[in-house]
Amino acid sequence: MKLALGPLQYYWPRQQVLDFYEAIAATPVDIVYLGETVCARRHELRVQDWADIAKKLAAAGKQAILGTQTLIESESDLKTLRRVIDEKDFLIEANDMGAVRLLSAEKRPFVAGPFLNIFNAATLGMMARLGAVRWVMPLEMSAAVLADLQAARPSGLETEVFAYGRMPLAFSARCFTARHFNLQKDDCQFKCLEFPDGLLIKTREGEEFLTLNGIQTQSSKVYNLIGEVDAMCDLGVDILRISPQSQHTLALLDVFRRHIDGTLDAEAARSEMVDLGLAEPCNGFWHGKAGLEQIAA
């Protein structure tokens, strides 16, 4: 089973991003997803910068993949999308059907990202015919539904599961971080830079609820499938995705790696992870329940 680092969902200063991926090059991760997939206004790194990082990671033996923006609104967004797809040395993760259209027209292989809503065998088969060589399960999908899809999976198509991190649950035209500061999105003053792991929403009784990350809304809890790795193995899952956070990402990758390799059992892995997460864990989606629930192993 391979280990992937998902795209950076937050907005960090340029040097922090460069340092982060330099450190990642030395980790036991197999695949690294790169690029700005959340907000077009974020510009600490441009497409060329991401491609440069991809080259370095590829030289370090990683499979580097460039992801496309998830919510496309303007012609300028489409221009960026085409610019990403023009990076022909790298596999592209398509995060909307516009990207699928452009990639399949060029007969390019691609990764069908987690927001394409692939829920059944017919859609999965179609994506494979259009050129998908890998698909990422929707975050809200359960193990039972995945099992049916794995049974019908076209040969040669890899399956990846989002296995660790705050979950990207929703996208909007509105920027909620800017809204918090009574700013409009067009004049957001790049407030996201102040929140390296997003901006927490609590209920009126102080319970942590969601996380604002610009136009994206995330869970406050951290999805953690460390206890389900054996089950995923049995289902033929090929790749686990870990989502970057500002602290402890390397340690988290290391725990997953050792657990996958069989040198660290699930219980020990769980206890090593206690102080590494941004919040308490949840795994409800995997078990077909409300996402915020934590089902005991």
Partner: protein, 337 residues
């Protein structure tokens, strides 16, 4: 097949009485759903069984009104045949178009019923012409419903770059998130718009009077608290008041409704083909009221686009039935973003 009008008013028909109310008050099309999770308004007491659907189609077609059937949730492998049977039924009963989100199901419909007109649901999350043209090339969709995320110039840009007819939301409940890309309800309640066809479902709702005020909860999570004298709202989870950095406010969206009456001539001018009224879960009286106002507005704008103004009486009628009695232009008005 009824012919297309230059600009269509597409009205919600949660059940037969609402369908008749929409038809009687000037809808060009009504959209409906079956009594299961094949559509995104899978609510108890709503939607059509076979006899009701046949009767609804007869009633509408007799009055030259089209019937659209929403099959706009994402089918899963184990229950796939429920969705394909629904597509077959739509073709058999003679609905004028089906509204789909799932590519696999579109492929089925296109192969099995090539004569059946396909609309891309808002749940398909297609926000650019590249995405819409994907569905056009793959399945020959003839219309796409835009998610409520684009500003007016962006809508115009989409229209100019696709052969597909564009339908936009004009009035009713406002999703602040991109439809089809929101798992908030699934996260809190386990029930998802994408697969179950519901958001913030009633069965997860609890109202509780406490010393702090009336509390509304969704699967135990406090969505809002209302002081004495404040009107208690339904706990739609993105429209509650929450704390961010010790400030309590509507952190995601106010309990407000979309109303684009003032944009109507502009929407026509940029080539939008149809306007959709949200609200299959609303009463026949609501549907009648809203349909009547929009019919009058569209007729006026078709006759005299330059001289069109929003009548005060229209706004007064619509305000009576709006959620929270507040209106917004949503993303069409760029500063909303």
């Amino acid at each position: 097949m009824l012919s297309n009008k230059p600009f269509e008013l597409v009205c919600p028909a949660g059940a037969l009485p609402a369908l008749k109310a929409a038809v009687d008050n000037g809808a060009d099309c009504v959209y409906t759903g079956l009594k299961d999770n094949t559509n995104a308004r899978n609510f108890t007491g709503l939607n059509f069984d076979d006899a009701q659907l046949r009767e609804g189609i007869r009633y509408a077609h007799d009055r030259r009104v089209k019937v659209l059937l929403a099959l706009n949730t994402y089918p899963q492998t184990a229950t796939w045949s429920r969705w394909t049977a629904a597509v077959d039924k739509a073709a058999d009963f003679g609905v004028d178009a089906i509204i789909l989100a799932d590519p696999g199901l579109m492929e089925y419909a296109k192969t099995k019923h090539p004569q059946l007109r396909l609309h891309l649901s808002v749940q398909g999350s297609a926000t650019s012409y590249e995405a819409i043209n994907f569905y056009y090339e793959q399945f020959g969709i003839q219309r796409a419903v835009l998610p409520r995320v684009l500003a007016m110039p962006q809508v115009e840009h989409v229209v100019k770059n696709t052969p597909v007819e564009i339908e936009v939301f004009g009035f009713g409940g406002l999703c602040v998130m991109v439809e089809g890309r929101c798992a908030l309800s699934a996260y809190v309640t386990g029930d998802s718009p994408n697969t179950v066809g519901v958001c913030s479902p009633g069965k997860a709702v609890r109202y509780e009077q406490t010393p702090e005020g009336m509390e509304t909860r969704l699967n135990g999570v406090l969505i809002d608290r209302f002081a004495e004298g404040e009107k208690t709202g339904y706990p739609t989870l993105c429209k509650g008041r929450f704390e961010v950095n010790d400030e309590t406010y509507y952190a995601i969206e106010e309990p407000t409704s979309l109303n684009t009456l003032e944009l109507l001539p502009h929407l026509m001018q940029i080539g939008v083909k149809a306007i959709k009224i949200e609200g299959r879960q609303r009463s026949p009286a609501y549907v009648a009221q809203v349909t009547k106002v929009w019919r009058a507005a569209i007729d006026l704008a078709l006759k005299n686009r330059q001289g069109y103004t929003v009548r005060e009486a229209w706004m007064a009628e619509l305000n009576k039935v709006s959620e929270g009695s507040m209106h917004t232009l949503g993303a069409y008005y760029r500063p909303w973003k």
